[in-house]
Symmetry: D3
Subunit: 248 residues, 6 copies
C-alpha cells in the first residue's frame, strides 16, 4: 500500500525524521511517501501556523489522490486540516494526535500528554474534547521547547521532555505518556526507557492505524458530512481548487 | 470605531449583503468595513472550503491591523480561522456562529439552529460543543439549500428556511431560532415574523458584541495561548507571513 | 433606552457604586436607573441570602415594567432570580455572572474567577455548568473577603483580590480574570493594571450586553418556558403578586 | 423523629394530600408535620412562582428549627430553595425531585419524567443536570395539566398522566417513570397499575430518604458551602431574617 | 424484611464486621443475613478480583431468591456484578459505593472519597461517572492500605485513613467524606470524630436505602434492560446457571 | 505473532465463525488462536451472562500467558472482563466493541450501532460513555434477534440487520454503522453492500488494532491501575487463581 505521510510544516529535516520513523515501523508491504507542502510555516506552534499549514495539507492530499494513495497521515500534533482532508478522499486519513490518543487509551486507563510549548496545550485540549478523550487525559504538559529545537538542539530538548515525563509519572496517576509533537517521532525508545512508562508517539501510531484501516478495507465515509465537497469556483491564488471532482 | 467585517468567501454580492445588514444595525460611531479575501472559495459549504477560506481571513486581519482596526468579525457560520485570527491582534475578533449562540442563550433557555446544508451541521455541532452551548441547542436543522441560492434564488430559499423554522418551533421545545449562515443576514425580520419566535442572526449579533467589547476596552488576551504567534519563516506562496511581528 | 440596573442587596452604597460604574460605561443614549429592593439582605453571601434577594429582584422587574424599561440587569454575581425575572418581561434580562462569563470566553480560551468568599464558589460553579462555561473556567478562587468589606475596607480588600488574581495568572494557565462580585464594579482598571491580564467585570459587561440586545431588538422569548407566568393567586405578604398579567 | 414536610405552595388541599401520602408511607416512629408557608403562590408552575415560594420554604425551615425538627422535605418538584434551606439547619433537607431521581436510578438504568406543564420541563432538566442524572433520564414529558387540576379535576388529570406514562413506556426505552409533581403523591398506585412500570413519586421517596439519613445520623454538612449563613441585617419586610444564628 | 448483605469476598471476618455494622443500623423489622460466596478472592483490590467475585455475588442472589429475600446489598466498594444481580430479582439491589455517593450528595454539594489502594481509584472514578456523581466528587484519595490490613492491622490502617481524611478536609473544598471500602464499615464514628466532617459509609448507607426502597414497594424494574435474563444453557462449572427462570 | 481470540461464550460454532473471520483479515505473520472458555453461557445477552462469561475470559488470558501470547481479543460486543484481563498480562488486550468504536470514529464523524437485542443496548451505551464515544454515536439500534439466531437462522437475521442498518442510514445522520455482535463477524461484506455505508465490525477491527499495537511494541501498561493484581488466596472453585504471579 501507498501511505502518504504529510508533514504539514516545511522543514525538510523534520520531514526526513518523520519519514524515517514511519519507515522503520511500517509493515513490509507499506510504501511510505514522506512529503511536505510547497508552501507554509517552517514549524507549527500556534493556531495561526496551523491555519496556514492546513492548506498545504489539502494540496498534499490532492497530489496523493492523483497518485493512487491508499492512506494518509497528517503528521503534526494539532491534526491541522484533518476533517477537510477527509472530505477529499475515499482513503483513510489519520492525524497523529488522534492516533496517539486512541492507542494510549487501549493500553492505559489514564494518560498525560507531554508537548512542546504551553501555548499549544489548548489545541490538544480541544482535540481531546472533540475526539472523546477528555477524561482519559489527566494533564497536558509542556516542556517549553520550540519545535525546531527538537531538530537543532536535540539533546537539551530530550532532557526536558524526559524531565516532564518523569513528573507526569510521579504526579498524574497515569499509565502512559503521549508525545505531543511530530518532531519527537524518533525519540520514543529513549524516552520510554528513561521514564519507565509506555510512551505513545503519534507518527508511528498513525502508520499502524492507517495500515489497520486499509487492511479492513475501511476508508473515509462518503455518506454525509465527509462526502466530497461540492465542486465550486475558487478565486485568486486558490483558483486551482476550482471545480474539484473526486477521482471516481 | 473601525469594525472590519470579513466575509470569508469571495462572493462580492454576499459581502455587500452582509455589509449592509451590519451597517443598518451598527451604532452611530461604528464604521463598518466589509471585506473579503483576495482568494478563496465563492461559498463555504464543507470543511475543505473552510480550511481554504481560513487563510484569507488571516490576511484580512493583517490588513486590518495595518489600518488600525478596533474589532473584527468573521462572517461565516463555521467561524473559520477564529482562534488563529485572535492570535494576530489585540482587538476583539468575533465569529458569527459564536455571536448568535451567545445571544440566543441570553433570551431563551433552549434554541435550534436552521442552517443551509445538512453536511455542515457537524461544523455547528463541533462549535456548540467547544463554546459550551451543546445543551442549549436542541437541534441543528438544515433547509438543504446551497449557500449561493440565498443570493440567486432568494425567495425559494427563504420559503424553505421559514418552513424549517416553523417545524423547529412546533417540534423542538425551543424559545429562539439561530440562523446558520452569514448569507441570511438580511432575512431576520422576515423570518422572525413568519415563524413567530425570536430569530438570532450572527452578523448583526456579532456587530453588537464587537461594539460591546470595544466599549468595555476588552480585547483579545495576549497572555497565554492567544498571544501573538512566534515570528518565523513561511515558504513559497505564504512567504509574506514570515517574521510577522505585532503592530505594537 | 431605559436600563434598570437592579442591585439585589439593600446596601445603598453598593447600589451607588454599581450605578456609577454602569453610567460611566453606558452609551450616550442609555439611561441607567440603579435601584435596589425595598426589602432584603444587605449583602449576598449564601444561598439563603440569594433566595430572599430573588424576591426583591422580581419586584424591581415589575416596577420596571410599569415604567417602560428596555432592559434589566441583575447585579449580583449569583444571578439571583434570573430565569424568574425573564418570565416577567419581554425585555432582555442579564445577570452579571452570566455577562462576565460570556465576555471572558470571547477574549480568552480559559479564564479564572476571583470571588469574595469561598463558600459562594459553589454558586459560581453551578452557574458555569448551567450556562455552558464549565470547561472555560479553570478555577473559581476566593479572596476570602466579606462583600461589605469592599465598601468599608476597600484598600485591604483590593490588595487581596490583586494577590489572588496574580496567583491565578501564575498558576492557572488562563488568559483573563473574571471578577466575582458586583461590588467590584469600580475596581476593574486598578486590578487590570496590577495583574496584567484582561479583567472582565460583570456590571459593565452586562450594560454592554443589554445595549447589544436592545440594539438587535432581541428580548426574552415569550414562547415556551420563559413565557409570562400563568396568572394566579398569591397569599399573605405576597398577595400583590396575584393575577399578574403582562403589560401587553 | 419529627419530619417537617413543607408544601411550598399555599393550597391547603394539596398540603393535606401530600401529608396523607407521607403519613401512609412513614415508619412507625416518624411524625409527619405537613405545613405550608403563610404567604406565597397557590401553585408553582414557573420560575417566578418558584422564586417567591422559596422564601416561604425558608420560613418553614426556621419554624421547624425552633421546634426541634429532625428532617425536612421540600414537596414541590422544582426543589425550590433547597440549597438555601440546607444552610439553615444541621438536619437533612430533601427535595422531592431529587428524591425521586435518586430512587429511580436505583431500580432502573433509564427513566422518564411525567410532569404537569411543558413550561416547567426546563426546571426538571436543570435539576437533572445539577444532580448528575441527565443521562439517566431519557425524556421529560408533560401531560399539560395545570397543577391545581390535580386537585379540582382529578380524574381527567390522571387519565392524561396515564396516557403520557404509557407513551413513555412504549417509546423511551425506560425501566421506570418519575412523577413530576408533588400533587401526584396519592396517585402512585393507580398509575403504576395502569402503566405497568415502577412509578417513583417524590414525596414518598423523600420521606424514606429522610428517615434513612436520620437513621444514619447524617445531617447537612456544616463545613464549607452549606454552613450556616453569616448573620447580617435584612431590611423591610424581610427584617425578621436579620441576625439569624444557628440553634446550636 | 429479609435483607441479604453479600460480602463479595471470602474473608469471614470481614463478613462478620460488615454484618455487625449493618445489624446495628438496621430498623427493628429488618433481618440482616450477612453472607459471602462459597468461592472467590479473600479481598478485592483489582478489576480481576472484582470479575471473579462478581460470579459469587450472583450465586448469593440466587440463593437469596430461593429464600424469599426482600432486598440485597453488594458490600464491596466497586459494586461488583451490580447490574447482573439486578437482572436476577424483583427485589432492590444496592451497591455500597452507589449508596454512599447518593447519600453524600444529599448532605453536601461536593465530597471526596478515601479508599484503600490507589490502583482501585479508577474503579471509583468509573462508577462516579456511570452513576452521575463525577462532578460531586472532588477527588478519590487512597490511604494505600491493603484491604485485609483493615482486619489485621486495624489501628495503623485507621490512622492512615484519618490522615488522608484530614488532608481532604483541608485541601479539597468539600463538605463530606465517603469511605471507600466495605471493610471500613465499623470505623465511621471514629473517623467522623477525628476528621470533623460528615463521613458516609456505604454498608450502613445501603441498609437504609434498601429499607427505603422496600418501604416504598419499589423493586428492580423488570421492564427493559434489567428484565430477567433469557434462560439458556451454561456449560462446565457454570452448568448450574442453565435454564434459570424467575421465581415468579 | 500469536493472537489469542477469545470468544467469551461457549458455542463452538460461533468460535469457528469468529476465528475464520479473524484469520481472513489477519496479516501473514499473525497466527490466530480462536478459543472459548471451558465453562460459561452459550450466548451473551444480559449483564448476568456477561458477569459469568468474564471469568472464562480471565482463564483464557491465563492460558494464553502460559503459551507466550502477543495479543488478546475479547470477542463479545460488551467487552466482558476487559480491564480485568488487562491486569493479567503485559500484552495488549482489545475488546471488539472498543475496536469497532475506535475505527468508526476514524472514518466518520458520527455512527450508529446495530446490535442484537434491545436489552443489551444499555451495555453499549455504558461502554460508549466510558470509552469517550458517547457523542460520536447517534443511536444504538437493535434488530431484536437473539444471538444464536445468527448461527441458526442466519438469513432471516441478516435481513433484519440490513433493515435496521438502512433505517439508521436514512434517519440518523451518520457516516458509518457499527455491528454490535461478535456473531456478525462474517456478515460485514454483505451488510456493507446492502446498506451502502461503511460497516465496521469489531472482530476484524480488533485483529488489526492488536497487530498495530504489537507492531508498535505497545502493551498494557503495568504502571498504575492496570498493574498485575496483588497475589492472594482464592477459595473454593476459584482456588486455582490463588497466588497468581506474572509470567515475568
Amino acid at each position: 500500500m501507498q501511505l502518504r505521510l504529510i508533514n504539514p510544516n516545511t522543514t525538510a529535516g523534520m520531514t526526513a525524521t518523520i519519514g524515517e520513523a514511519a519507515t522503520r515501523i511500517a509493515a513490509p508491504g507499506t510504501h511510505i511517501i514522506a512529503t511536505q507542502p510547497a508552501a507554509g510555516p517552517v514549524s507549527i506552534e500556534s493556531h495561526f501556523d496551523e491555519a496556514v499549514a492546513a492548506v498545504g495539507v489539502q494540496e498534499e492530499i490532492l497530489a496523493g489522490e492523483r497518485e493512487g494513495t491508499d492512506a494518509y497521515i497528517i503528521a503534526c500534533f494539532g491534526d491541522p486540516g484533518l476533517l477537510a482532508a477527509r472530505e477529499l478522499t475515499r482513503a483513510p486519513v489519520i492525524g497523529i494526535a488522534e492516533a496517539a490518543f486512541h492507542m494510549a487509551s487501549l493500553i492505559s486507563t489514564r494518560f498525560s500528554v507531554v508537548t512542546t510549548l504551553g501555548r499549544t496545550a489548548i489545541i490538544a485540549e480541544h482535540l481531546l474534547a472533540q475526539y472523546g478523550f477528555a477524561h482519559h487525559c489527566r494533564r497536558v504538559r509542556a516542556a517549553e521547547i520550540p519545535v525546531l529545537d527538537l531538530e537543532e538542539d536535540g539533546e537539551a530538548a530530550v532532557a526536558r521532555i524526559i524531565d516532564e515525563g518523569r513528573r507526569a509519572k510521579a504526579e498524574d496517576g497515569i499509565g502512559a505518556i503521549v508525545l505531543g509533537c511530530g518532531g519527537m517521532a524518533d525519540l520514543t525508545a529513549e524516552i520510554t526507557e528513561a521514564v519507565g512508562l509506555p510512551v505513545v508517539e503519534g507518527v508511528t501510531a498513525a502508520v499502524k492505524l492507517a495500515e489497520a484501516l486499509v487492511g479492513l478495507r475501511l476508508g473515509t465515509s462518503k455518506h454525509g458530512d465527509l462526502a466530497f465537497p461540492r465542486p465550486k469556483a475558487f478565486t485568486g491564488r486558490f483558483e486551482h481548487f476550482s471545480g474539484l471532482t473526486p477521482a471516481a
